[in-house]
């Protein structure tokens, strides 16, 4: 498959160089993306990271009201402890640092190792595990972290920006994760630059339910159906796990290869579904935020809001990938 790259080996580095060139508000050093104006004394630092290929997640969410640093790994591969240690030290303003970690074995191991090895910085961690496609049981590595990562980074970031202490920021991060659920459906596979061919074969006539953000297979394959039916399958999975009630923040997220127009087609169905359950979409986000290279498909992430979380969602944010109110 055709790719706009110089070489498969340099794609992450080259993209980071581009981000640094495009956004003077960011500083890129040794595979860590920092806020150029940080660290701010007394402010809790937020560090996240994970494999590359999910842009704008995470580096695109570095900035005012969100992350202080992001550690991009190789494509779909977690960052290494060295990066996380550097980032943690680099963003510490004396108030401690929160690690926001998506629940994948590799991410968890590398963040754990970094938290153990870093000296002189108070570190708390939150594990994001919102994907209802995966059964959370003794017999799996637990639910995967997907779309809710953006919600956690945004709302915990807003609270940290206000000067809240580490324990409170960590508690809100965990609460957002707790209140959030995601489900994804893929129409096509992604292709990693190193492999050069699709990660999995998905026939023209089928979709993958419960797809992971790295092209990991999900729950089942079913025939391609109208957007209304696909949206209903996703929403049934969410509603079955955490009943839709009250005020909701709803994101319809593209996986990188789906036109915005189609995402709005899906959002219309999602909004109708929510209404049908007697709940309200009070905040929304539609676009490509947690992507899987050029995969076609969408995921829906829902967070049950209260007034405090709504306020944190509405708080000003200024990052390459998300900005309002400032």
């Amino acid at each position: 498959m055709k790719k706009l790259i110089n070489s498969a080996d340099s794609v992450v580095e080259d993209a980071l160089n581009g981000m640094a060139a495009a956004h003077p508000s960011l500083r890129v050093r040794d595979r860590v993306v920092y806020r150029a104006d940080g660290p701010r004394p007394g402010k809790v630092g937020l560090v996240s990271g994970g494999g590359s290929g999910h842009e704008p997640l995470h580096a695109g969410f570095v900035g005012h009201g969100m992350l202080d640093a992001a550690c991009p790994g190789e494509i779909f591969t977690s960052p290494v402890p060295d990066q996380i240690i550097e980032a943690t030290k680099g963003v510490d303003g004396g108030a401690g640092v929160l690690h926001i970690v998506k629940n994948y074995t590799g991410d968890v191991l590398n963040f754990e190792m970094a938290a153990e090895l870093v000296e002189g910085v108070e570190v708390a961690g939150v594990l994001v595990d919102d994907d209802v496609a995966v059964q959370d049981s003794l017999y799996t590595a637990g639910r995967r972290g997907t779309g809710a990562t953006l919600f956690v980074e945004k709302m915990a970031g807003a609270l940290a920006e206000e000067g809240a202490p580490l324990a409170e920021v960590a508690a809100v991060a965990a609460e957002v994760d707790e209140r959030s659920r995601s489900f994804g459906i893929a129409l096509t596979s992604c292709t990693t630059p190193a492999a050069g061919k699709p990660t999995f074969d998905l026939p023209e006539t089928e979709v993958e339910l419960g797809i992971g953000i790295h092209g990991e297979p999900g729950r089942a394959r079913v025939p391609l159906a109208p957007a209304r039916e696909l949206a209903t399958m996703a929403m049934d999975a969410l509603h079955g796990d955490l009943p839709l009630r009250g005020d909701l923040l709803v994101m319809v997220n593209g996986m990188g290869g789906t036109p915005l127009m189609e995402l709005y087609v899906v959002f219309a169905e999602v909004a109708a579904y929510v209404k049908g359950k007697g709940a309200r979409v009070t905040r929304s986000l539609v676009g490509n935020y947690v992507t899987s290279l050029e995969m076609q498909g969408f995921s829906v992430t829902v967070c049950r809001l209260d007034d405090a979380l709504t306020r944190l969602w509405d708080a000003p944010v200024e990052t390459p990938g998300l900005r309002w109110g400032r």
Partner: protein, 205 residues
């Protein structure tokens, strides 16, 4: 002498992993995220660079250097897991190296992997190749086997352990997300662990 042997182990392991890179990645594509061969090849290349750049003085140091490099440079789950295996082995290995000493250090390394990955035999992970290899080594030591025989048995045990993951349902790592659909595929981590053991048997056997 023993230092050179351990360096040769990593050179041979790198050669085997590179030759099998596409197979490992294909196994990973079936039940994971299609990067195991690529990542391990990249990590081992870094290990060889590190070993050439600042040559360690002992076999134990070769192991700790390799382990630390894998932890720091590879990422993913395999970096910390393989890194811990070799780092713990290096810490436990006494000079001069004997077969019994090596078997003991290897067992400690495998325990470190089990602890870090919270995996046990049968979870469909690299432990399914490493633990049988460790047991085969211990048995060979008990029976007073020659080095070449002992390492050959360990390599065979790892290979059989890896093949034995095919009918298993994964309970750890990304493959566990698949539930029953992980059945019928060989675990890529077990497959690469078998390559490490084959490399050792080939250079020290």
């Amino acid at each position: 002498m023993e230092r050179d042997l351990f360096v040769a182990w990593f050179e041979e392991a790198t050669r085997l992993v590179r030759a099998d890179r596409d197979r490992l990645t294909r196994l990973d594509a079936a039940i994971g995220d299609a990067d195991h061969g690529t990542n391990l090849d990249r990590g081992l290349t870094e290990v060889l660079k590190e070993l050439a750049g600042s040559p360690p003085e002992s076999g134990a140091q070769v192991l700790t250097t390799a382990g630390t490099t894998l932890i720091r440079r590879v990422g993913g789950a395999s970096g910390p897991l393989y890194g811990s295996l070799f780092r713990q082995m290096g810490k436990a290995l006494e000079t001069p190296v004997t077969l019994a000493g090596f078997a003991g250090a290897f067992e400690e390394g495998v325990v470190a992997v089990e602890r870090l990955g919270k995996a046990v035999l049968g979870d469909k992970t690299m432990v399914d190749a490493l633990a049988p290899a460790s047991r085969a080594l211990a048995l060979a030591v008990r029976d007073g086997a020659e080095v070449s025989v002992a390492l050959g048995q360990a390599a065979r045990a790892a290979q059989e352990g890896s093949k034995a993951t095919i009918p298993l349902q994964a309970r750890k790592g990304r493959a566990s997300y698949l539930g029953e659909r992980s059945v019928g595929h060989e675990d890529p981590g077990a497959a690469s662990a078998a390559l490490f053991m084959a490399a050792l048997a080939s250079v020290a056997g």
